[in-house]
Amino acid sequence: MVVAVVFVLIVVGSVVFHFLSPWWWTPIASNWGFIDNTILITFWITGAVFAAVVLFAAYCLWQFRHRPGHKADYEPENKKLENWLMGLTAVGVVAMLTPGLFVWSEFINVPAHASEAEVMGQQWQWAYRLPGADGKLGRTDTRLVGSDNPYGIIPDDPNGGDDVLIEADYLHLPIDKPVKMLLRSTDVLHDFYVAEFRAKMDMIPGSVTYFWFTPTRTGQFEVLCAELCGTGHPYMRGGVVIDTQEDYDAWLAGQQTFAQLYAPEVTKTAELN
Amino acid sequence: MTVVLMFFAMLAGLAGWWLARQRLTAKPWLEQGVLDGVPDFQLSHDPAKRTGLSFLLAVIGALFTLVIGAWFMRSDFGDWRALPIPEILWANTGALILSSIALEYSQWAVRRGDLLRVRIGLVAAALFAVLFVLGQLEAWWQLYSAGFFVAGNPANSFFYLVTGLHGLHILGGLIALVWAIAKAWTAEQADTVRLKVELGATYWLFMLFVWMVLFALLNGWIGEFVAFCQSLIS
């Protein structure tokens, strides 16, 4: 009997907690409000089901508790009821899945005009690369990574020379411009995660993964690693700054390219070999 | 992963076929008494071992299917360099076939109650199996001497992995075979070892089949076959 009361308290408590607690997601700073909306739809549907099932159970527990002389009903099954419940569940599932799949299709199809930015993870820091004047990133190979070529850019690739390298610093991006984040790692799995952008994706050594988003709010955001990458995992932090176009251009003008930073050494090494 | 999914689809098909005959739509609350015509009780222990073996083979099949699936996924990467298959594998394949034939012979004999021939078949099977294992080790040695080390290339790694896993299963079977020989030597009647011989023959046939598949895989025939099928479709 106490159980029935506790069940009701759990439902009421959970709902109250949900609405009153100060703990909720960070203010969004990207175009993925769709994702938040899908989460809200899921919250409403699942919350209703949770409340309904537990409250109904609580009612049963109260109403049909054992009393002397009381006897249970004998009802092996009720096909009609079961089919109804199955149908309703299917409707609920479709209601959650459909918007989810539409948003997913949006999520994986990058707009054609999106610019590119590369994030490289290594234990336990972030480095960034922008395609530079030609709009193309130079190809890379982890086997070339060294102190004279920390990004492992293939020296022969003509697209690589003008790539803007941003090591151990904040990545700046212009507001309202879709950007495709190309993600790679030189050692273990990492995951580029900015809570305010909602998007994240693992980085796998040996291949390049991606996601895209459009920043919608200027400011400075913390980058976290979201895939266990060894002892220093929680300390692998970085930052992204979303600028207005003018600020962004000013910042970009102050950055150095691969050619300026390393090319002389790389060419030297190449000659030595 | 296609291979894996196909294998599991096959198992699911078998399970579904079996379940379909188990009266799963019966309403058990309406039925009372002992139901006749329903497979519900078997006193004998013997079919239990047979059923057990078939499930064991399903598990081993899943194991090798997964390895083969991993093989296909890994061989898609650019660093894969197929290694030359030692000639001796042909001889080893022959030894395993002969071993299996010997066990079939033993099984034929056990059904006729001919204990002598059972013993001959079992011993021959064991000898050929030992020959197979030694031949596999020789193949490893040849590759190793020729500089194809296990970590040299993923193709090498997979070669050692699949032959090693298969070899371990053959060794496990050999232990059972030696056990069966010991039993056959002290047995008065062929029937006492009948189940052992029959189960052994089934297991051996299965491991032979697995080896054939692996052998075809190692030689690259399966890859060619898949490519051929794809060309037919397109």
Binding site: W23, A90, D187, H233 | Q32, G37, K49, L66, A151
Partner: protein
């Protein structure tokens, strides 16, 4: 089809004495026993013992999260070792082993009316291999460098690289231990399957089996087919670690140093791991589904509602669980187009699972509910499972998973659904069957203390934890207070969770005390204290002797759920009781 051959007939199943292995000494009776009941107790004791190690480790990590620096020996290495071993032990060495090795061994022969498992010797080997696996895992605590800290998912490359604790020996011992576990489990699993298929008592058709057995049976079949994937993944990773192969290892630079690996695919490991790992979730869940169905039915004195649907749902969930594995990999960088397929299959599973929940609750409807300890735990299961199952709909729906994956939301979800919920069932099942195992009841007052603290406490731990994840706190963070977007109050929430976790953990000591104390001092239970219908309660002796059923095996005349049958003298009719017309009230079609 229905043939009513009532009464004891001529071929009441006699079991030839010679077929049963008889223990000859104390050693073969209690240590190297081939009696499934003894093996079950060995499995259960070992699993609970290693489970307490996992519990202690969870305290260590909760202390670190709430009071960083309080435990001086906990640095980042120790923390990651703690989460790894905690996760691995709970999922595999505790819950899987306890449900299948413990309850499976004890209940399959007894509930089906068999003398023992069909291969008792192999069954014994299964336990000893399992014990060896546990010992190898424990040995890694004493190995140089300690146990592995790669996370329970053991993702390469970091699992075998030197910036992960336990790289020296811990990871090797972990992989060897898992390989041993798979081998041991396969031996046990063959027994469970074949016993269910071929050693059922006369009259025990499949559709008369209690749902407990259905759950364990389907879970075992799944485990037999899923564990090879773990086996293959472990063997291949051992090759990578020991022989320098590159199955999973791409070319990489570790702290400025080029390693000799090249070309391998970390994603390949993830596919293999989750091909095992997802069915594993249901390997843990299905026995819990089965057992909880029987607990609810027995203690609500009412037949389980929709038995056929319950069976079909188990089979469908079991089959579907093999085609959803990549929903653990939505943000792993695999081909994003897989997301559509796996999100759909994942959400389809919600339908049969929901049906099971409805049917449990509908079994309560118009029941005669006794609030016994097993019933309380079963009810606790319903709440936690519904909660955890529903949050699964967030994570299964591919795009919703993107912000939530790898956050505390995931941690909260899977603890609720495959930690708390199955463990509440394990407790309920122990309170339910302890009287059969020992002949005595567990103490009611201690049990109530245990239940309320565990149930309410666990809910208070894991429900708020979802909100940490929604805020964006990543999982597997040694420290999280300095994350810029977190309000200071998030740390208060962590402190609250830790306090709850310490209390819930302490309450388990009450349970252990109860288990031990009641062996001698519990109230004598009699043969069938819950007035249940299934065969294990109808044994001539309690605890059941070797061979389970005395001279004659039971014959089964009815399904397992004849509770409160209209017109019957008692509110239950044992399965082996002949006679009585079928109840007139039919299920409507």
């Amino acid at each position: 089809m229905v043939d009513a051959t009532h009464g004891h007939d001529a071929h009441a199943a006699e079991f030839p004495d010679a077929e049963l292995y008889h223990p000859r000494s104390w050693w073969t009776k209690y240590v190297f026993s081939q009696d499934a009941k003894v093996i079950a107790i060995q499995y259960a004791s070992t699993a609970l013992a290693i489970g307490f190690v996992a519990l202690a480790l969870s305290w260590v990590m909760r202390m670190q999260l709430a009071f960083p620096g309080f435990l001086e020996f906990v640095d980042a290495n120790a923390y990651y070792q703690a989460i790894t071993v905690h996760g691995m032990v709970m999922v595999i060495y505790l819950i899987t082993a306890l449900f299948l090795g413990g309850f499976g061994n004890y209940l399959i022969p007894l509930m089906l009316g068999a003398r023992d498992m069909v291969f008792p010797y192999v069954n014994m080997l299964s336990y000893w291999t399992y014990l060896l696996a546990v010992l190898v895992l424990v040995a890694s605590f004493f190995a140089p460098g300690g146990p592995t800290g790669a996370g329970w998912t053991l993702y390469p490359p970091q699992a075998i690289l030197s910036n992960t604790p336990g790289q020296q020996a811990g990871i090797i011992l972990m992989l060897v231990s898992l390989i041993l576990f798979v081998i041991g489990f396969t031996m046990g699993g063959l027994n469970y399957i074949v016993t269910v298929l071929q050693a059922r008592a006369r009259g025990m058709t499949l559709m008369r089996m209690p749902l407990t057995i259905w759950g364990i049976f389907i879970a075992t079949v799944m485990a037999m087919l899923a564990f090879p994937a773990l086996f293959v993944a472990c063997v291949m990773m051992l090759f990578d670690r020991l022989l320098g192969t590159s199955f999973f290892m791409p070319a990489l630079v570790e702290m400025g140093e080029h390693l000799s690996y090249g070309g391998g695919s970390p994603i390949l490991f993830q596919h293999l791991f989750w091909f095992f790992g997802h069915p594993e979730v249901y390997i843990v869940a299905l026995p819990a589904f089965g057992i909880v169905s029987d607990l609810i039915s027995t203690h609500a004195r009412k037949n389980i509602f929709g038995y056929r649907m319950m069976v079909w749902a188990l089979v469908i969930i079991g089959a579907l669980s093999f085609v959803v594995w990549a929903h653990h990999m939505y943000v792993s960088g695999m081909n994003p187009w897989f997301g559509f397929f796996f999100a759909t299959t994942t959400l389809i599973i919600a339908v049969p699972t929901a049906i099971k929940v409805y049917n449990w609750v509908l079994t309560l409807w118009r029941g005669d509910i006794h609030f016994t300890l097993p019933m309380l735990f079963a009810l606790g299961f319903i709440v936690t499972f519904v909660n955890g199952g529903l949050t699964g709909l967030f994570l299964g729906n591919v795009v919703v998973d993107v912000p939530l994956s790898d956050t505390m939301f995931v941690v909260a979800h899977f603890h609720m659904v495959m930690g708390v919920a199955p463990i509440l069932v394990i407790f309920g099942a122990i309170y339910h069957w302890y009287p059969k195992v020992t002949g005595r009841m567990l103490d009611q007052t201690l049990g109530l203390i245990h239940f309320w603290i565990t149930f309410v406490g666990a809910y208070l731990i894991f429900f708020p934890m979802h909100y940490l994840g929604i805020m964006g706190v990543p999982r597997r963070y040694f420290e999280s207070q300095d994350i810029s977007f977190l309000p200071p109050s998030a740390h208060d929430l962590n402190v609250f969770i830790t306090v709850c976790a310490l209390i819930v953990g302490a309450a388990q000591m009450v349970f252990v005390f109860n288990l031990i104390w009641s062996i001698r001092h519990g109230k004598p239970a009699g043969g069938n204290p819950w007035r249940a219908t299934t065969l294990e309660w109808q044994t001539p002796e309690t605890p059941p002797a070797h061979g389970n059923f005395g001279r004659e095996l039971p014959v089964v005349y009815r399904w397992a759920y004849d509770y409160s049958v209209p017109g019957a003298a008692e509110d239950f009719i044992p399965q082996n009781q002949p006679g009585g017309a079928p109840p007139h009230k039919e299920g409507s079609e």
